[in-house]
């Protein structure tokens, strides 16, 4: 079941000020008795990239003992994503409403907005200064923008006074996060949807989307399309239908960079792939944070793979040996493939690293680089073998 009616829930033509948000129900008590049960019934999945059920995360921290912390993650380190910034700049009170809802629901006495982009810091500080409700006042924590800073263990480590670098699990942040306290780290879009669900209910939320990926989602569509930008769409449209919302393709795409830079590269036939968490995963990629780049006609996939895996090698936090060595090795092999100097050993290694390196770093960064090896091998066999 796919509903294509695009009644926008988060996306607005421009910024909404406090009065406009109050008119829409911001900061009023939730319309449901049990917020976590409502999130579970809605099937809300986290929008930071992992797609993990929000209700499970909220309940785990709510059931933990001792003082708890909630973090609104707006760091958005994914290079091709802009949707979190859009939300923070245009709907800051919707995000804060979701953050305070989460704090009340899980019993947190500390709420933190975790950011790295200057304009979002200004917008959120202004919104916090005019909060119309007494009680908990969220803090703003600012970090340098890097890819791994947005990872939840890195966020907790930074807020605790350390560097914004991931740590190994266990412990999970829901057991031991900020200052060792049970912590809910939630993407800002997830919090915005949670606020919407608390006002409108799970049934209304499910009026869009599919059974497994219910609701709407913000997406960042870039590359070979007429009107690149941030859009809100129901889950369940095909990649091509998504790009119709962005004015359509400007030519037959050579492929798609999926899920930000984290989902690797899918071939042109995936214009017909359905955008749900399940279907994109089955296609060998990931929906991630909903950022998709359509490659212009004639783009060489190996050139793109070489550029993006070079970025991976440069952006590795270099904490884990497997990531330091693995990202550099993948970069070098793709550069050789692009330049036509690759040996069969390079090809064999890339194919193997795509299968064996995921899961070997403390965070999932190395998995992203390995995903490029795996998807380019699987999706572009002619290029890979040239």
């Amino acid at each position: 079941m796919v509903t294509t009616a695009t009644q926008h829930r988060l996306l607005t033509p421009g910024p909404l000020d406090l009065a406009a948000e109050l008119e829409r129900g911001a900061y009023s008590p939730p319309a449901c008795d049990d917020v976590i049960a409502e999130l579970e019934a809605a099937g809300l999945r986290g929008r930071g990239g992992a797609g993990f059920p929000a209700s499970v995360k909220w309940r785990t921290v709510a059931d933990a003992s001792g003082p708890r912390v909630v973090v609104a993650n707006g760091e958005e380190g994914e290079p091709s994503s802009r949707k979190d910034r859009w939300l923070l700049l245009n709907r800051p009170h919707l995000v804060l409403d979701g953050l305070l809802l989460a704090a009340r629901t899980i019993g947190a006495d500390r709420a933190v907005v975790y950011l790295s982009h200057e304009e979002t810091v200004t917008a959120m500080r202004e919104a916090i200064a005019e909060l119309p409700v007494p009680g908990l006042v969220p803090e703003v924590h600012v970090v340098e923008p890097t890819y791994v800073a947005g990872e939840e263990t890195a966020a907790c480590r930074s807020i605790s006074g350390g560097p914004a670098l991931p740590t190994a699990r266990p412990p999970r942040v829901c057991d031991s996060g900020v200052d060792g306290r049970p912590t809910l780290v939630s993407n800002v879009e997830t919090l915005a949807h949670a606020a919407w669900i608390s006002r409108n209910g799970a049934a209304a939320y499910r009026e869009s989307g599919t059974a497994g990926s219910p609701g709407t989602t913000l997406v960042t569509l870039t590359g070979a399309c007429a009107a690149p930008g941030v859009y809100e769409v129901p889950f369940g449209l095909t990649v091509a239908e998504l790009f119709e919302v962005a004015g359509g393709f400007t030519g037959a795409p050579a492929g798609f960079v999926m899920g930000g830079w984290f989902g690797g590269l899918l071939g042109p036939a995936h214009a017909s792939t359905v955008c749900t968490y399940e279907a994109v995963r089955a296609a060998g990629s990931g929906f991630g944070c909903g950022a998709i780049t359509a490659l212009a006609p004639g783009t060489d996939p190996l050139t793109v793979a070489a550029e993006i895996t070079a970025w991976y090698a440069a952006e590795s936090a270099q904490q884990c040996g497997a990531c330091l060595k693995g990202t550099a090795a993948i970069r070098d092999a793709f550069a050789a493939l692009r330049d036509g100097t690759a040996s069969d050993t390079d090809r064999h290694n890339l194919e193997r690293w795509g299968r064996t390196l995921p899961g070997r770093g403390a965070c999932a960064f190395l998995d992203g680089a390995a995903g490029w090896a795996r998807t380019v091998h699987d999706e572009f066999p002619d290029h890979f073998g040239r």
């Binding site: 190994a168 884990c320 040996g321 497997a322 990531c323 060595k325 064996t356 899961g359 070997r360």
Partner: protein, 62 residues
């Protein structure tokens, strides 16, 4: 029992894979990872491997 390797601490000594080859594998650069779900068939070997790691990179959850 479940065993974890902290990839930020592993420096590739490889003692774990010598002492518990069914539980740890090394990549081509020598860094260790647990095999499968990290539940050891030989718990004594897992403990020896954890104790032998010079970087204290191996955690055992009972």
């Amino acid at each position: 029992m479940k065993v974890f390797v902290d990839a930020t601490k592993c420096s590739g000594y490889g003692a774990c894979a010598e002492l518990a080859p069914n539980l740890f594998e090394l990549d081509e650069w020598g860094y260790a990872a647990v095999i499968g779900d990290g539940v050891p068939s030989d718990e004594a070997a897992a403990r020896r491997a954890a104790a032998a790691c010079p970087e204290l990179a191996i955690t055992i959850e009972e």
